[in-house]
């Protein structure tokens, strides 16, 4: 009898799920259960996702006409700055690691919790503390530096609440570091017996590599923001050229973090997609070891490409050449991953549930995002395209088309596990397709106008670009609908949704070998792992309902 079957059979008698472990607000705010902390994070980042979304909705509305609609230039600048700061640090960076990572990592490796449960709770409080600064900056009038805080604009010229906003990002960085340290220790120390490194699901590898990047890169962000605060608040001459400082130094420090930050966003997304695609293709992931090495290569080389943000910032031609070369190299492992996801479909038994639709959408959008990255890695192309909408479109394909699609794929994939409820599949598929279409409608026109010379962060713009802007704004409206829909049907499922079985997708990961939602201790009996991950059926004997059974789930004993 499999563990899954035990879990299924024991539904009536087993200890209460983690959701039953306490119903008071205090029980949630003082929990050290990684699953509850994941929920706390999910609620917080969802809130910020919609605040950041409202900010950009106003920007897109304003851009419907070349000469403005209802905002002053200052208000416009504050809105896009807010959008960037909130979406990057309060949504994208914590998105997958702090929610799905927190919830699933111990489950996937067969542990009772993360290595340091109280540090885990602290990381959420740090997030809230950082968020409080940002909300303060927002309510007192906003910040007008862009999310990049470039000096000397941020230190000596901007009129907004730069210190509060920078302090918020500074603090939330420590939340990332705490999560990273915790995950590294958890993966090293708490793997179930038999779960060797090369039996880890790729999501766990994604969490491991992203944690490394978080721990190594985030301190540099903290330093650079601290220096901005020191200069702005106390007049220390660090970036002020008039007093012998170097304004470009800030860009080096900022991008030393912020380029790896792109990988902080995309590595977990790659992990999610690597779980979803094999499950719905009923096929082991193609080239597992290559996928692992590709994740590691991206994490390592990702630290050496920051200078490609500064091709026109007065960097030497030699430096430009080196950073261009390394940027091409870092694209190779990403390309391998795309090919491997595609090859995983080969000879599968493919179905198209909502998580799979989001995951396939991810592969397509990530491919375009990655390829346009090659344009920007080429110095002559970048000189023209940088600081235009081409760059905006490029990184939104990676961060939104990539990360947010994967986040949605994961949310739909693990929703039954987290909540014990099934959502409306039809609505979810509709939302997945709408997301894909809305996304392309929003950002494809931005590639065109960007190459045509439309600079980014422009409140007023030449009339020739209006048609593209209108298309993009209409796309954004479709995208907004596609993002609000899940809020509705997920909410609906919590009350009316059918109860989810332990393993609704017949997936092989350990997290599916316990009940949905899992008990507080995750596993009644700790699993032992004897097989490779993704041991999905790859025979062509398909019959009826059983065709979804994995050949062998990871936690099963023979």
């Amino acid at each position: 009898m499999t563990n899954a079957a035990i879990a299924d059979a024991a539904v009536g008698t087993e200890p209460a799920s983690y959701l039953e472990a306490g119903h008071t607000l205090i029980s949630w705010l003082t929990t050290t259960d990684h699953k509850r902390i994941a929920i706390l994070y999910a609620i917080s980042i969802t809130l910020f996702f919609f605040i950041g979304g409202i900010a950009i909705a106003m920007v897109r509305l304003e851009l419907m006409t070349p000469h403005g609609l209802f905002l002053t230039s200052d208000a416009y600048n504050r809105l896009f700055s807010l959008h960037g700061i909130i979406m990057v640090w309060f949504f994208l960076v914590p998105s997958i690691p702090a929610t799905m990572g927190n919830f699933l990592l111990p489950l996937m490796i067969g542990a009772h919790d993360v290595a340091f449960p109280r540090l885990n709770l602290l990381s959420w409080y740090l997030y809230v503390f950082g968020a409080a600064f940002t909300v303060y900056a927002l309510l007192s009038g906003g910040v007008d530096t862009g999310w990049t805080f470039y000096t000397p604009l941020s230190t000596n010229y901007a009129t907004g609440y730069v210190i509060a906003a920078a302090a918020g990002v500074f603090v939330v960085g420590f939340s990332s570091i705490a999560t990273g340290v915790n995950f590294i220790a958890t993966i090293h120390m708490l793997r179930a017996p038999g779960l060797t490194w090369f039996r880890l699901p790729l999501f766990v590898w994604g969490m491991y590599t992203v944690s490394m990047v978080m721990v190594l890169a985030t301190p540099v962000l903290a330093m650079s923001l601290l220096l901005v605060i020191a200069e702005r608040a106390f007049g220390l001459p660090i970036f002020d050229a008039a007093r012998g400082g170097d304004p470009v130094l800030f860009q080096h420090m900022f991008w030393f973090y912020s380029h790896p930050a792109v990988y902080i966003m995309i590595l977990p997304a790659m992990g999610v997609v690597s779980e979803v695609i094999p499950c719905f293709a009923r096929r082991a992931i193609f080239g597992y070891t290559f996928m692992v090495y590709a994740l590691i290569a991206i994490a390592v080389i990702g630290f050496m490409v920051w200078g490609h943000h500064m091709f026109v910032a007065g960097q030497s031609p030699l430096a430009n050449l080196v950073f261009s070369f390394l940027s091409f190299i870092v694209a190779v492992p990403s390309a391998i991953k795309v090919f491997n996801w595609t090859a995983t479909l080969h000879r599968g038994q493919i179905t198209f549930e909502a998580p799979m639709l989001y995951a396939l959408g991810f592969v397509g959008l990530f491919t375009i995002g990655g390829l346009t990255g090659l344009f920007l890695a080429s110095v002559p192309i970048d000189i023209h395209a940088t600081d235009t909408y081409f760059v905006i479109a490029h990184f939104h394909f990676i961060m939104v088309g990539g990360t947010v699609s994967a986040y949605m794929a994961g949310l739909h994939f693990w929703w039954p596990k987290v909540t014990g409820r099934m959502y409306s599949e039809a609505w979810a598929r509709f939302a997945a397709i709408t997301t894909f279409l809305g996304f392309n409608a929003t950002f494809m026109p931005q590639f065109v106008m960007g190459w045509d010379g439309m600079p980014r962060r422009y409140h007023y713009y030449p009339d020739v670009f209006q048609a593209w802007h209108v298309m993009s704004s209409v796309g954004a409206l479709i995208l907004a609908v596609a993002y609000v829909l899940p809020l509705i049907y997920f909410g609906w499922s919590l009350i009316y949704g059918r109860r989810a079985p332990a393993n609704p997708w017949n997936a092989t990961g350990l997290e599916w070998q316990t009940s949905s939602p899992p008990p507080k201790e995750n596993f009644l009996r700790l699993p032992r792992v004897e097989v490779e991950p993704y041991a999905y059926s790859d025979t062509d004997q398909v019959s009826g309902a059983n065709n979804r059974m994995p050949v062998r789930a990871q936690g099963e004993t023979a």
């Binding site: 000096t151 008039a242 190299i329 000879r347 002559p380």
Partner: protein, 327 residues
């Protein structure tokens, strides 16, 4: 031609960039098409319950495919890198006859000084087929001078000179705009690049109000600020003779040898203690705060004029005798 034209390729370099761009678009399009058709094809052929043959692939096959497409991708990317890089490198050499135009950016305008002394705001008038070298600096935050029709942009930094050169091969009025976010009115920090034929340019030049050229104005400043008190050949104070200094190697007290280019001259005026010339005492006071960016441009133009001909350039600078900074 109107300023609505963004996409005109107004120089040979711009056409080359466009070619590179379209090759990349083609390659990317093919790769996207390949991935998309594989996903669509597999999704259709291997949908659940279809009659397509399944079964495991030979282990070795998977490995070979993996190595194959890794290498193919690597070589393709290295090829694109090589191609883009060779474009980049060939664009580095500034023609020796390039005419220098000085640009000072500030929130939210562009101040331009033509070598002949003409001053412009948010406009640069140039001659077609004449290489132009922009020497740029900022008085406040970081700006970025963006010339879409030249496919060029360069950040303009406070406290430093940055450069941009191009040869416009098409006449017309083109966009010139700020690409680095610089505060409230960033989006209207725009201007025009006017590329003219020789007769038009001559007409425009002669219509400008009489003004000394930059080097002459710099010479006046050189005396007014007291520079000549020490640096004149006849001075009793031991200070470096500045004749012929521009573009030449200067040995420093700490053993380094630097080339006296614009950034060096600028630093020597504002931060004299930074690079002490070998054999001289560090007695020069800093002129930081005493000279504006515009004055610096003039002073440096004067110093440069001392090195090219040792006689000052003529008023009609744009035509043949040019005070050039090219080395």
């Amino acid at each position: 031609m109107t300023t609505d034209s963004f996409m005109t390729a107004a120089s040979d370099y711009a056409s080359e960039v466009d070619n590179t761009f379209w090759v990349l678009v083609t390659i990317s399009g093919l790769i996207t098409l390949l991935v998309a058709s594989l996903i669509a094809g597999f999704s259709l052929r291997y949908r659940r319950g279809s009659s397509a043959r399944r079964g495991p692939l030979p282990e070795r096959f998977g490995h070979e495919v993996e190595i194959g497409w890794t290498m193919a991708t690597l070589f393709l990317f290295l090829f694109i890198f090589w191609w883009a890089a060779s474009n980049q490198l060939s664009a580095l050499d500034v023609p020796s006859n390039a005419l220098e135009v000085h640009v000072v950016a500030k929130q939210w305008m562009w101040r331009v000084q033509q070598p002949g002394g003409a001053r412009e705001i948010n406009e640069i008038h140039i001659l077609e087929n004449q290489p132009i070298r922009l020497v740029m600096t900022s008085e406040d935050v970081i700006h970025s001078l963006f010339l879409p029709t030249m496919r060029l942009k360069q950040d303009v930094l406070p406290g430093r000179y940055t450069f941009l050169w191009f040869t416009a091969t098409k006449t017309g009025v083109f966009h010139l705009t700020c690409a680095e976010y610089c505060g409230t009115d960033h989006s209207v920090m725009a201007g025009r690049l006017v590329v003219m034929t020789a007769p038009d340019y001559a007409r425009w030049t002669s219509a400008q109000p009489e003004a000394d050229d930059l080097a002459h104005q710099g010479e006046a400043l050189f005396f007014a600020l007291g520079c000549s008190g020490c640096h004149a050949p006849t001075s009793s104070i031991h200070a470096p003779d500045l004749r012929g200094i521009y573009g030449h190697a200067v040995p420093l007290a700490d053993g380094r040898i630097v080339t006296a280019d614009e950034p060096y001259l600028r630093d020597s005026i504002l931060l004299p203690e930074k690079d002490i010339v070998a054999g001289y005492a560090p007695i020069m006071p800093s002129f930081r705060g005493a000279v504006s960016e515009d004055d610096l441009v003039k002073l440096i133009a004067y110093l440069k004029s001392l090195s090219t001909a040792r006689t000052l350039p003529s008023r009609q600078a744009g035509e043949d005798e040019v005070p050039t900074g090219a080395q």
